[in-house]
Symmetry: C2
Subunit: 201 residues, 2 copies
DNA sequence: ATAAAAATGTACTGCGCGGTACAAACGAGG
DNA sequence: CCTCGTTTGTACCGCGCAGTACATTTTTAT
């Protein structure tokens, strides 16, 4: 960020720009999105971009950070209440339904991994941090499942969180490639079938 | 492919071009690779590209197909002999070691998913087909494991293959994002821990 | 040996997009 | 109501790269 806006109006504009960029990046990818599109979409010209951001990579870094917040915020309410195997199943079901029939199957965070330039250090760091935090939230949830004794014995919560996140990302990747959400369902179903132990109660 | 080369020399050139493109795409991505680089790397100018290929997307499609063959060929010998849980573990270990310490962690196939243009239909189809075939080979292997009764009871071989592929792709994605292969190890380890049942014999 | 075809190298063109400069409009103190 | 800082809109520049044209060399066939 080159210049922090000093008025409310300026801050609102910055937010609109980031929001527009988030949407466009998620839908059509980073490199396929031009600054013109972002400027138009956000209702501002391209001029503002260079007032508030040092350039495209700077904007990308800001978007990555924002996107991470969005994804985590969206999941937190659901994830923070997870404490049983059934809750995990519910999260998996919800995850499958994030993708509608018509919009492209691409995780707003995961898809960024291969789209960031090699030298976009700030963005890459933000991305890695985002995955770390996502995993931490999942791990906390898995830990509660473990306390209910509904996590497979040979998995520790941290490993389970990593595995679930990988299954999700891999599933989304395959689903995006084949255009069929079944791949995601399969990946998550396998995790549920093997990692969770339903206790009768 | 615009014109099939009719001489051995021409075919050799085409192959060199595709090989060079494979390497460059795998290392630095599709969009970051220019036709100049491919022309130079393959020892031919950019002129040839347009003699044999209709344009970049055409070349990309050819590369995708080739890349799929490479990956499958590399794994076939290992995968076709898989018939026990221990063999699956061996494959997982091998998979972790495909990535050296210095080269970037990106699956030559998986990384393409988000790099292909929205309208590169031929390439996308080749990619989807590649995943399908990869999964089929894995499923055949899982079927043999099942026959040894070393696959978890609540997984059918097809689902196990999908889950393993997703775990691998997701693991590579996370490892690439964080720069730490541990993510891949965790994902594969979780699959092994929960999907495989070691029988004493 | 020679003509036709195929392969190779080079130089040029156009354009999309990131980046910059600068002019116009707005808005908050004095 | 004037003034200065901030915000907004526009017009321009240059570069990198995909795509094209064409001249030159090499290979194949008769």
């Amino acid at each position: 960020m080159r210049t922090e806006p000093s008025t409310a109006k300026g801050r609102a504009t910055v937010q609109r720009v980031i929001d527009a960029a988030c949407e466009l990046f998620a839908r059509q990818g980073v490199r396929a999105t031009t600054l013109d599109q972002i400027g138009t979409r956000s209702g501002t010209g391209r001029g503002q971009l260079y007032l508030y951001f040092a350039g495209k990579s700077d904007l990308v870094a800001a978007v990555v950070a924002q996107q991470v917040e969005r994804v985590l915020d969206a999941q937190r309410p659901l994830l923070e209440t997870v404490s049983t195997a059934a809750d995990v199943r519910a999260w998996c079901t919800a995850a499958e339904q994030w993708y509608g029939a018509d919009d492209p199957v691409r995780c707003p965070i995961g898809s960024l991994v291969h789209e960031l330039g090699e030298q976009d250090d700030a963005a890459r760091a933000a991305l890695a941090d985002g995955f770390g935090r996502w995993r931490a939230v999942l791990a906390a949830a898995m830990d509660r499942v473990r306390q209910h004794d509904e996590l497979a014995a040979d998995l520790d919560p941290d490993a389970a969180a990593g595995a679930l996140l990988a299954a999700y990302q891999g599933g989304v990747l395959l689903a995006g490639a084949t255009g069929d959400l079944a791949a995601l369902r399969t990946a998550l179903a396998a995790f549920q079938a093997t990692a969770l132990v339903e206790r009768s109660r």
